[in-house]
Subunit: 235 residues, 2 copies
DNA sequence: TTTTTTAAATGTCAATATTACAATTAAAAT
DNA sequence: ATTTTAATTGTAATATTGACATTTAAAAAA
């Protein structure tokens, strides 16, 4: 049997970028690094890939170990492969990306861990190239949310229309017209209004909605440029 | 100085997926693997990352070594990180992705190399998980082309409207209405009609167009769903 | 009980974009 | 001169977008 004997093996790390939304502002999950180099500096959740796990498994394991979070959908984002990015030893890092409802995971994220939610707009300087990773993740978020109902996935099971609007406004750092936004959103036919209202934000209260799971997968797709029926072409 | 002494180093490979368009059909660049395992089987262009090069540099080097192609814009696609994907030794592979005008690189792709253009629809069984990589790349192509004028970038300097239409029809595997497609395309204001015609495809001949480089970067962006001025949010 | 306050919900209209569909034109070949 | 082929151009009905103001529900204050 042949072997790849002349090749160099390289350290492979995972870094996890976790965005969270609490219905109000968009936040980033960060930890203070517990080991050298750069001990105590702010950092993304990171670690090395073990020999017998897939990179996806490694990402889930590392996130769990450092934050307690489990069962979160993380997506691979990008490899950061500059030879000098880690000063100790050449390490390539695969950045993973998740986006969650903060309230939903409040309990898992216990004091046992040092992970903290920081408002995205106030994120501190991070170690290595982690700030670049976060920037890339923001870009990806906007890109994906443009074509895909990604942002819906991080809403609570029940949510209000003003909440979704706030979320979109946060992600795109813009202000939207209530009337048009609401109309567009409801026209998808995906939201089922509940009888209950959320009275947190106002005296009148805003109706809760749920996603219609039956239609969600098929129907919700944005429409594109040169393709008359683009829904058919995206997942 | 600390070291990451307890961690396992892993082989890191690159695989390159290169799509090409010749104005007629959409093709995939493949090689017959020159070494064990799986010698002589069809494969993507692949190799290992060297200690002192970035992953992007490795991708460019490997493509050059195996095909002669140089100066091609390749984008990172995805890591394939299953532990058993290479039967010889655990290897993670970073898949890179390019899309080119076949005619433009005809000379570089000389007989010296064994790379061949194969019609995408007739692509053979490839080694390891390379077919899955190609599938993923097709998906990515559609996704990106939906929001980004990516497909324009692989057209010849001069191209005709029927050519672009064929390209879109190939990528999305659909049929488009000539009249609507042409109108939409011209309405971008990005195309400058040349006096010359391409008489290959018909007796009447189709006008050549060029991209207006001045407007191209700013103006050409698709428009999105919930965001009134989405251009502002994409690169 | 009445009034005030706050944010949610809803409506209209003009402008623009999309779709579906058919006739005309240029130029080579017969 | 006629035929053939594919490119080019047009129109009308429909749907979507964006800009803009008023009404409504319910708690809090008077």
């Amino acid at each position: 049997m042949t072997k790849y004997s002349k090749q160099t093996r390289i350290l492979v790390a995972i870094d996890c970028i976790v965005f969270g939304f609490d219905g109000d502002i968009l936040k980033l999950l960060l930890i203070q690094r517990g080991f050298e180099p750069e001990k105590n500096k702010w950092s993304l959740m990171g670690g090395f890939v073990d020999p017998d796990e897939s990179t996806d498994e490694a990402a889930a394991r590392i996130l769990k170990q450092l934050t307690g979070l489990e069962g979160i959908y993380m997506e691979q984002m990008q490899v950061f492969g500059e030879p000098k990015r880690d000063p100790i030893e050449r390490t390539i890092s695969i950045a993973y990306f998740a986006f969650i409802d903060i309230h939903k995971y409040e309990k898992q994220l216990s004091d046992e861990y040092h992970a903290e939610w920081i408002a995205l707009k106030e994120a501190p300087k991070l170690i290595f190239d982690h700030n670049a990773m976060v920037e890339k993740a923001k870009e990806m978020l906007r890109y994906k949310a443009a074509l895909h109902p990604l942002l819906f996935e991080l809403l609570p099971q029940k949510f209000t229309i003003p909440q979704i609007q706030t979320l979109y406004e946060n992600v795109y750092d813009t202000v939207l017209d209530k009337r048009n936004f609401s109309r567009k959103l409801l026209s998808t036919g995906l939201l089922i209004r509940q009888d209950e209202k959320d009275k947190e934000g106002s005296k009148k209260g805003a109706y809760y909605y749920k996603l219609d799971p039956a239609i969600y997968k098929d129907k919700f797709q944005a429409f594109l440029n040169f393709i008359p029926n683009p829904q058919a072409f995206l997942n």
